[in-house]
Assembly symmetry: C2
Amino acid sequence: MTTPLRLGIAGLGTVGAGVVKIIQSRANLLAQRSGRPLTITAVSARTRDKDRGVSLDAYDWEDDPVALAQRDDIDVFVELMGGSDGPAKAATEAAIAAGKDVVTANKAMLAIHGQALAEAAEAAGHVIRFEAAVAGGIPVVKALTEGLAGNQITRIMGVMNGTCNYILTRMEGEGLPYETVFNEANALGYLEADPTLDVGGIDAGHKLALLASIAYGTKVNFAAMDLEGIERISIDDIRQAADMGFRIKLLGVAQMTGRGLECRMTPCLVPAASPLGQLEGPTNMVVLEGDAVGQIVLRGAGAGEGPTASAVMSDVIDIARGIRVSTFGQPATALETARPARASAAAPYYLRMELEDRPGALAKVATVLGESGISIDRMRQYRHDSPSAPVLIVTHKTTRDALDHARAGFADTGVVAKDPVMIRIEMV
Amino acid sequence: MTTPLRLGIAGLGTVGAGVVKIIQSRANLLAQRSGRPLTITAVSARTRDKDRGVSLDAYDWEDDPVALAQRDDIDVFVELMGGSDGPAKAATEAAIAAGKDVVTANKAMLAIHGQALAEAAEAAGHVIRFEAAVAGGIPVVKALTEGLAGNQITRIMGVMNGTCNYILTRMEGEGLPYETVFNEANALGYLEADPTLDVGGIDAGHKLALLASIAYGTKVNFAAMDLEGIERISIDDIRQAADMGFRIKLLGVAQMTGRGLECRMTPCLVPAASPLGQLEGPTNMVVLEGDAVGQIVLRGAGAGEGPTASAVMSDVIDIARGIRVSTFGQPATALETARPARASAAAPYYLRMELEDRPGALAKVATVLGESGISIDRMRQYRHDSPSAPVLIVTHKTTRDALDHARAGFADTGVVAKDPVMIRIEMV
């Protein structure tokens, strides 16, 4: 097969420019592997005159990504604009309507509109591929959709927002408070224009929602995700968790349980000696667990020009090779509507609270825990100079309901200075 | 597409039985993902009457795997017999001649005959897939062939023999000598019938040769590999490497250099804090490095019923889905003959030697190193009760030639008690 595969690329930011560079610099290698040449027909971006470190002279220019998507002389529409709605969605819909395959890095768009877009593409006999939308260069969509296709997936876990992991590991390494590191990261341009997308867990949540859909054959349901960011993590929690052999990560977990599909992106404590616990800086890690394969761990750069462009190229080469897999691993119309689990599976929890330093205070706390059905695995009270004493508790497995009951009870004791910090411990 | 994909399975050991179990227990899930039912038509093994924990009543039996491979009512021949030649090769050749696709877990056969088999299959328009041949359940063949297809691969590293890693980590953990742990592992059935396949690095070398072929677009050339087993690793080396921040692994490294294709499976020191250094027990790890993606680390079970069967199923489902990729990622006839690198890239080395305890001994050793052009990064001499003193040296980057020169020089000094241990340090 020597017919070229003709691409239209919309969005020429870091990733778009990276894709153009790979296609220009590795033409022979790509053609050998793809079995046919890969060519760029036309490109589109908001600004034409901008130095992107790459020549675009050989390509047609379209101001309007929708017009690009509809061109007769492209086979694949490569959407690298971003944003859940607006031009990205309009152009993707136009591409599908015009009979193109779509490659996208847009996790937000797919987490919200993935079901509708996949149904439309599949009805037209075309594919939407999105390796670059999840965990950057790590080929996790392919690993899950194809590599582990013989497994009933039992659990997915992931640290998939490099910025959050950078903030948490830098807080720990330098002993700095959250605000300081957040401001640093912002100044360095590590955060999205709306930082809540990163530190609020939304970006990582979008990624997890997509993986959960593939793993469990269910419609993407980002709205049902249990979402909590890292804004409330203090350097005290990081230090004291470390003291007990744990590290704090913004961890995504998706598992199908008897109560429904549990899907959450929240801060968790993980054992410091586990692969997830050892993860430093902006690196991403995804853990896939299947009934046959056991545990597979994938680790790599979760963002950046090269890694994300590598993932885009993987999808493009798949299409060139004639590899056509449904967006979520089976026909979109066959995906089921998952019942969201009302509560998470039981787990041990880490509690940190400030107790007023007077006789009987600890007894009152212990009584509340006992009455809530929560038993204590380990407890530490630290030396202190202040009028209140920091107390750490690691519980045995318990539930959110029990913890909510205890939280209300603590408030009534009159000895717990502030609302306690409660962080789930995920045994990985 | 609802035409079933019909399998003939030859070899019903652990992996074969595992494949049958998955197909029997997950029929609906597999059909949904594959877009068509997967059925087993017939099976073959050396012994018919044997409890394999699974019913074979529904399948035809063939005593002869060649006859199985030639049946008109199978689409895919699943070769799980093992052995580089003999029945496995004969049946695979018969399957190709009869127009079947082939899925195999047979690293030895492909490392020796992969080029000829791939050429034959591709000439007939069929595929040979071998995810299960490398690193068990880790989808590394797919990650490299497809997931990183947009990259020029710069280096592959891997710990891909679980038994060797089990022996090394158990020696370290329990402080036991090699022979003791080797005998233990043998008694537990962890070793191949010919243990040299494991501890001599041959099995892992086969796997690395296959990955190198995909990565660099070259014909498999197992014979050119630099191969060294773990038989000479002593508990002293393990301890003293640990003392300097390293761990010893049987590490495969394949990289294309200006001097040719460097491909070796040898004991190496790796930093204890690196992902490879942290690997415990029988777990496998493969590190893939590409010019765009940077470093991707894959970790999982490298052997066993479930993991290996999972990898076989991945290939079967690919074929059911219509995914057809050349065996080594590009047409076998397009693969180049790599020039084997005459020498490895320069690297730091760990040297351990016993020095006679008399004045000037260390000076003589240092002089030999200097004259060989080897500079010293770190050196330690340990307290001792014996007449000879253990001395450890970590060199700066140097070459094998320089080390061979030094080795000869040491022998001439008259103060070096035994042939020194020299182990490469791989900076991962």
